[in-house]
Amino acid sequence: MKKLLRPLLTVLFLAMLATPLVLRRLHRPQETAAGPDPLARYGFRLTESARAAGIDHVHEAPTLDPKLAHIMPQVSSMGAAVSVVDFDRDGHADLYVTSSREGSKNRLYRARGDGTFEDVAERVGLADVNAAEAGVSMGSVWGDYDNDGFEDVALYRWGRQELFHNEGGRSFRRVSDDAALPAWANVNTAVWLDFDRDGRLDLFLGGYYSEKVNLWKLADTKMMPESFEYAKNGGRKYLLRNLGGGRFEEVAEKVGLQSRRWALAAVAADFREDGGPDLFIANDYGVSELFLNDGGRFREAGRETGVGFAPKSGMNASVGDVLNRGRFAVYVSNISEEGILLQGNNLWVPVEDKDGVPYFENMATAMGIDLGGWSFGAQFGDLNNDGHQDLYLVNGYVSASREESYWYDYSKIAGGHRLVIEDAKNWPPMGERSLGGYQQKRVWLNDGAGHFLDVAQLVGATDRHDGRAVALADLGNRGALDVVVANQRGPLLLYRNQPAAGRNWIDFELEGGCRGDGGLSGCSNRSAIGAQVTLHWSGGRQVQAVSGGSGFCAQGQRRLHFGLGAAAAVEKAVVRWPSGRTQEIPAPAVNQVHAVKEPA
């Protein structure tokens, strides 16, 4: 017997060595781009049609201080953003997109209602907002801060922050000076939320680079993260409490919202189901943070809730009810590069509650949505109207030379100590090399049983641009979520969605009850940001919330869209307003948009 042991062990050893190769072969996608008709197979098809729709925007990146010239492609690698808003209340979703080159112009694409758009940014005063002296755009979030019925816009930048008041859908008036916005900050994420539930929208701003850094006039080159995974030398956070009358008060420190991590994305949602919006922040170079809202005061509960371990490179925060349980999961994107850096993206799913505080577990790997390249923006939405929230993810960091990669040098410096990594002059020159470039996007279809399947190449999402922001919106008012993608140094893409016939849907357009911004009581902000709709049908349920900004530098449509699959009827919709009111809508009709106003 002993004689046989060694040969057997050798065979076993070889089998072990072969195991990864076998597993890889088994998990290789079965189909290629030449697969079956996606409409029949997956229930939808995407067609890129920006040009046909009159959209010709191409994002341009800024040129920062010459001391950063050797790594310019990576330090100027953000700023492509998109927000969906019906700014003129004509019933059609419009698009506001940013550019970041000094002197370049942002675009406000107004929907004409026939499937095409016209750029009206110049006309309404939202185009000329990028300059080295004032800052360049990183993104925008829209919310009706004075409850006058028209969505106003906060433009966040590397530089000065701006707030524009919507003048009846005709033009925008700059009101930044009255709003006590930070004089200079390098902001990469912003969210409208009513954290104190007074009926007025407040504004969160998350800094990336320290606000002490002027990226065009560097005092010195020690402005990079002090660690690749434990950096706390980023920008501060701001919470602008809306006092009414166009005035805001900065209260971040006062209400416990303190952090110097490198924030890249934030999303507000009621994770504790107690009515108050909590704030989830995905940080680059570190762990995510979850600030729980204790009646208008925040406390950081990342470790307590399970999301504050295993630091990665958080670049997205979006919420979705992926299991149709009536609970929000949070998707955080990170970096994955085969054989070099496999952080894996995170899907934080609440698995239990302890004393009213949820505990999350990362189920991204189990559900098949962990590896997405150098991931950036992602959004949940039911793309094929089958009743389950799918996930659209864009990726790609710097696409330059196809032959040369910066990965080796990046990994070399990333492992270095603070004294090395935080000083930009120590970073190897990047030249024309790519870093995580030309990557395939992910369109993950939710099978409703806890697993997602990537069908991007099969349904038409075939671009290889450096994707940043994704926003989902029904641009044709036809019960289908279209996809808008803002690419860094690339074109704005519009993927028209054609869902298969026979799939039903239902939409809700909510409007909070507050009017004006003084003497409010017991009503919700007019944008209804923070309102939740739980839809009950076919024995199941799904919750969605109106968002004041989510994903990476993006904001989707305010309207909530539910796919229903073959179900021809809905049991009920329950609306929970930010004011605390609950409203039940019995058996709402399917295949239509329901305008719901908060009852008095």
């Binding site: 042991l5 060694r6 062990l9 050798t10 076993l12 050893f13 072990m16 060595l17 195991t19 990864p20 190769l21 597993l23 890889r24 002090e226 660690s227 690749f228 995974e229 434990y230 950096a231 706390k232 762990v287 470790r303 504050g308 371990f309 295993a310 630091p311 590069e337 085969e338 054989g339 070099i340 850096l341 496999l342 952080q343 894996g344 991204a364 790997t365 962990d370 590896l371 990669s405 990965w407 080796y408 040098d409 990994s411 070399k412 410096i413 990333a414 492992g415 270095g416 100590h417 603070r418 004294l419 090395v420 990594i421 000083d423 002059k425 120590n426 970073w427 190897p428 020159p429």
Partner: protein, 274 residues
């Protein structure tokens, strides 16, 4: 009257040297996790440790008929648990199993050639690159934990009589970093950066000093450490991200084979002389 016997001095407590390295590697793990929470998850690291120990016990009993000392497999398991990164669980178990099994399969004249965890990690980086990467980032930005690990590591490795290997490698790395900076034109701090990271702390204290897979002669050990650094420098110039693992993978067994062959010759000539 008899003079009372002078009591024999009681032996002071002396820790078995075989436990020193496991203590050090545990210290690294605890400091890293408590200070920074650096692990992908405790469960993955425990899986690697448990698998390594289990495979060691089973193979030791089956092939040699005795219970093996578990210090070596513990170090392999814990190193793997820290040094590879994967969103999956199975690579941790598989890497540990491959590492320990390699000791029993890849043997010449009763000696195993590769450092077990080095072999396992290289196997995973090459064969399972789609789900496995190496630890390539800094654990934290605080000098204190790093200084503690370097201090304790140096003391313990010195006590084990292998500090000269570590020192030779570090000095060689620094010298080659100057050469690389000159060749690439990159800032010297960028070339030095990797050795300031935690991966190297494990590498220089536990992998390149492994008594079972290093040559016997002290000067030869220094030469091998220098050669590892030299090959690594070459691989780095060719932009291999995991250059240190590959360098040890190539140089370590080659040096062992040379020594084994010389031993054979010595034995043969001794037999002839007899």
């Amino acid at each position: 009257m008899t003079t009372p016997a002078v009591p024999a001095p009681r032996p002071s407590f002396r820790l078995d040297n075989r436990y020193l390295a496991p203590i050090l590697v545990t210290l690294v793990l605890v400091i890293g996790q408590v200070s920074f929470g650096f692990l992908e998850s405790w469960s993955r690291t425990f899986l690697a440790i448990a698998t390594a120990i289990l495979v060691e016990v089973v193979l030791g009993r089956l092939l040699f008929g005795k219970w093996p000392h578990l210090a070596s497999s513990y170090i392999s398991g814990i190193s793997i648990g820290m040094l590879i990164r994967s969103p999956e669980f199975w690579p941790y178990a598989l890497c540990a199993a491959i590492s320990i099994t390699s000791k029993y399969v890849l043997r010449v004249d009763g000696r195993h050639l590769w450092n077990p965890s080095n072999f396992g990690i290289v196997a995973m980086l090459v064969l399972a690159s789609h789900v496995v990467a190496g630890l390539s980032v800094q654990w934290g930005n605080n000098l204190l934990p790093m200084a503690v690990v370097w201090l304790f590591g140096s003391v313990i490795i010195h006590r084990l009589g292998r500090f000269h290997i570590t020192l030779t490698y570090v000095l060689s790395f620094l010298a080659f970093s100057l050469l690389r900076a000159a060749v690439t034109g990159h800032p010297w701090p960028a070339e030095v950066a990797p050795i300031t990271g935690p991966m190297y702390q494990l590498y220089i204290f536990f992998m390149i000093t492994d008594p079972k897979t290093t040559v016997r002669d002290k000067r030869a050990q220094c030469l091998v450490a220098f050669l590892v650094a030299a090959v690594e420098a070459g691989l780095r110039l060719l932009e291999f991200v995991h250059a240190p693992y590959y360098a040890l993978f190539a140089v370590g067994p080659a040096a062992n084979l040379v020594e084994i062959l010389r031993d054979r010759r010595a034995r043969a000539s001794g037999t002839k002389a007899a």
